[in-house]
Amino acid sequence: MTYEERLQNVSVLGAAGKMGSGIILLTALEMADLSLKPEHKGKTFVANAIDVSHEALAGLVKYLQTQVFKAAEKKMVQLRHFYSDRPELIENSHIVDEYVRHVLGLIRPSVRLESAYDSLLVFEAIKEDPAVKNAVLSQIDRNNPNKPWYFTNTSSIPISELDEGAGLEGRIIGFHFYNPPAIQKLVEVIKGKHTLPELGDFALKYAKNMKKITVPSNDIAGFIGNGHFMRDLLFGISLAQRLSSEMPLHEAIFTVNKVTQDYLVRPMGIFQLMDYVGLDVCRYILSVMNPRIAGGSLHAPLLEEFTAKGVKGGQHADGSQKNGILQYDKGKITGVYCLTRDGYAHHNDFEERCNQRLGAMPEGTPAWKNAVRVSDKDSLFKPHFEKMKNQDSLGARLAVEYASESARIARQLVTDGVANQVEDVNTVLLTGFFHAYGPVNEYL
């Protein structure tokens, strides 16, 4: 079966979710572009967008309308070629409208799992729960006569486990997008023990056509992305707890968040990133990873304490940040949750005190949004880390300690056989987490 044939009937499970909506968007665009090629004209392409509720699917359709429109405007040059044989489509606006109609016409929203029974390719982006995934995948596979291929977006569950659990005979591969899939460039590709080689070839071509950067990860729970993020997060929590012997915990959290964002020149501080991902999701990923890795040392009781109080983070339907460990106003951090007070402590009450403890920021600290665009990273970060190493302040000491730990985690992932090389870990952090520099570097 050719690449094009494989993409003639695709189902996305969890299509209305944060990840699924991006996956169905990118896949439908790829299918549309194939269907518009002269050699494929007249062939039918179907993308089933499957999710559990009509309400969620109605939201998905709105999202897709907007996003396909934007995508069409961006690739107008190409689209004019596609439609060169349609004399009635003269202006760009005619072509955009026609393309949007065409793409949306491929997408069949459905609340029935049965819709996937004809598919040749099934994308799975449902709840990060091995039992649920196994049940759904095996149900489809029992009823689908096509022996379909399964692409799972799991960020933590070993592919071999799903393969065996659902009885898929190697017709599954990990294809882990980063959030939001339409924008983030990275895809982690994970082959299970028995994954058929054809799936790997297809995955690479498909990723390339969507202009994604792929990084191979080995089939160990958490893979590279969560393998690094979860340990980084646990270190952030442990550091805050250590500091809480000298200051209230919420001030320690503020301090660690500031060091990880501003001193380390990251797009978000570590606690903000936990909120962005959602505390429940973080806990869940840890619970999936912990029993599946050697040592089983990934515990974060503090996260349990927060979620027990209803502090959860995550995003509103419009993509804006919900309050979590940190409090937000229009995306800006305004406070930190205080477990002893059962409420948020406002920045104004402690920010200055924390900053004084941290000491002055190293002179010339780059801003992340500028640094991320600079091609010569060494010229920015060598002197920055040099200053931090030589500066006798709490902020600089914490930053250097944190960066060293992040590098240690990255190297450990290679030692543990999760990543083939440290460069892969760096690529994941650079492209999936938008860091301005990789954790393994010559700055420390």
């Binding site: 405007e73 961006k74 690739k75 107008m76 040059v77 190409q78 689209l79 004019r80 060169s84 004399p87 489509l89 003269i90 202006e91 760009n92 606006s93 955009v96």
Partner: protein, 415 residues
């Protein structure tokens, strides 16, 4: 026809800001001034300089395509909005694609020559940031033959001039031509940085030539030009008064503050035909030659020119078309710095279409205002020296791909 049968002067020029990307105040997500505000600002400014609406006999407004960008036609009826004193006075809207502004000035000149008016208020305006550039490209494509649109590029006019650039590269060499493009861009921005109304006034980019040498990417734009080779999408208006000797007395402005329209050139080429030669602006050259011949002067008596650099390639070919360089030698002339503000023949001294901006229907009026400023020593930081033996200014305004061309030769009224 040679010299004009009557003295015709230009006075009281005014430009609004050329608004669009690059200006700090520009925010595409916020509500912005529309046609009404630009027309009012420019019109009232010129009226104030000439002593009010009661001095005006007639009005002309140049606008290319508000019918699509703004859903607005019947533009002449905006004049009474500027000032109630203009109610019930004759007004006309003219259109000739991107040469609209100069056609508007020319319509004023002809009214004065016909002795149907002694004072004509001329405004050129366009407000184009109402839609994304990808849709604006469709509207602007109307400057070409509608039947060519289907086969044309998504960005129609950049596509047309990219083809010209490609042909020029092939015939005369790519690298040296692109170097000249980069120099053209640098000159445009450096001049614009001196002019507070220019769209690139806030441009602080370092190493402009290096920036401009970015490789074109035909997958997302056109094959032979990059964004720095193109004028931007602009909103803006310019106004000027066209007056007779009697008119000048009526409004009480001294000759020293006026420029004289010595001659004009106006030629049309068949819109249904492809260019005769993609490597030359042949119609452009005909208009410039006509204006210079009618003035009885050569290009070597001209101190400065405003030329239609909708794209850098048009700028380079314009240099050849007005007779400053032979075919294929335009890039050398530009790269040598001769067209820079301190060069031997400064061109587009307030930035031109690439630097100052290109509110299409306003551009020809803006050219007239710039020459008026330069030749009456009102150009402020943009002022260049006008040598006494070269007292003339030349403007050449182009509509479409070398189709509608209007040129003026202008000199100080006291020179």
């Amino acid at each position: 026809m040679n010299a004009l049968r009557k003295k015709v002067y230009l006075v009281a020029g005014y430009n609004t800001i050329s608004m669009g990307t690059g200006r700090k105040e520009f925010n595409p997500k916020k509500e912005r001034p529309g046609l009404e505000q630009y027309i009012t600002e420019a019109g009232q400014a010129t009226l104030k300089m000439i002593g009010g609406a009661d001095k005006v006999d007639e009005c002309v407004i140049g606008n290319f395509i508000a019918s699509r960008f703004n859903g607005q036609a019947n533009m002449a009826a905006f004049f009474p909005m500027i000032d109630p004193g203009l109610r019930y006075k004759p007004a006309t809207r003219v259109e000739g694609a991107c040469a609209t502004g100069s056609l508007a000035v020319l319509a004023g000149v002809k009214s004065v020559l016909a002795e149907t008016a002694d004072v004509v208020l001329v405004i050129g305006v366009e407000v184009q940031n109402t839609v994304k550039a990808i849709y604006g490209a469709d509207y602007l494509a109307a400057a070409g033959w509608a039947k060519d649109r289907k086969a044309g590029h998504a960005y129609f006019f950049p596509g047309q001039f990219s083809e010209r650039a490609g042909a020029y590269f092939e015939k005369y060499g790519r690298d040296r031509t692109r170097q000249a493009f980069a120099r053209w861009f640098r000159n445009a921005v450096e001049n614009a940085r001196l002019c507070p109304t220019a769209q690139e006034y806030h441009n602080t980019a370092a190493e402009l030539e290096k920036l401009a040498l970015m490789e074109p990417n035909g997958k997302v734009f056109v094959d032979h030009l990059n964004v720095f080779d193109c004028s931007k999408v602009s909103d803006g208006a310019s106004a000027i008064a066209v007056v007779s000797e009697e008119g000048l007395k009526r409004i009480g402005i001294p000759l020293s503050e006026a420029v004289e329209v010595v001659s004009f050139g106006h030629v049309e080429e068949d819109i249904t035909k492809p260019p005769v030669d993609r490597t030359a602006l042949t119609t452009f050259a005909a208009a410039a030659r006509q204006a210079l011949d009618r003035a009885g002067i050569s290009i070597h008596q001209v101190a400065t020119a405003e030329v239609h650099d909708c794209f850098t390639i048009a700028g380079i070919m314009a240099v050849e078309a007005i007779g400053l360089a032979e075919a294929g030698k335009g890039p050398d002339f530009v790269s040598a710095g001769h067209t820079a503000r301190d060069g031997k023949f400064p061109i587009n001294t307030t930035g031109g279409l690439i630097g100052w901006g290109h509110p299409t229907g306003g551009t020809g009026v803006h050219m007239a205002v710039t020459l008026w400023e330069q030749l009456t020593a009102k150009a402020g930081d943009n002022q260049i020296t006008i040598p006494p033996d070269r007292p003339y200014g030349l403007s050449v305004n182009m509509g479409g791909d070398d189709k509608t061309l209007v040129a003026f030769v202008i000199k100080s009224a006291t020179a």
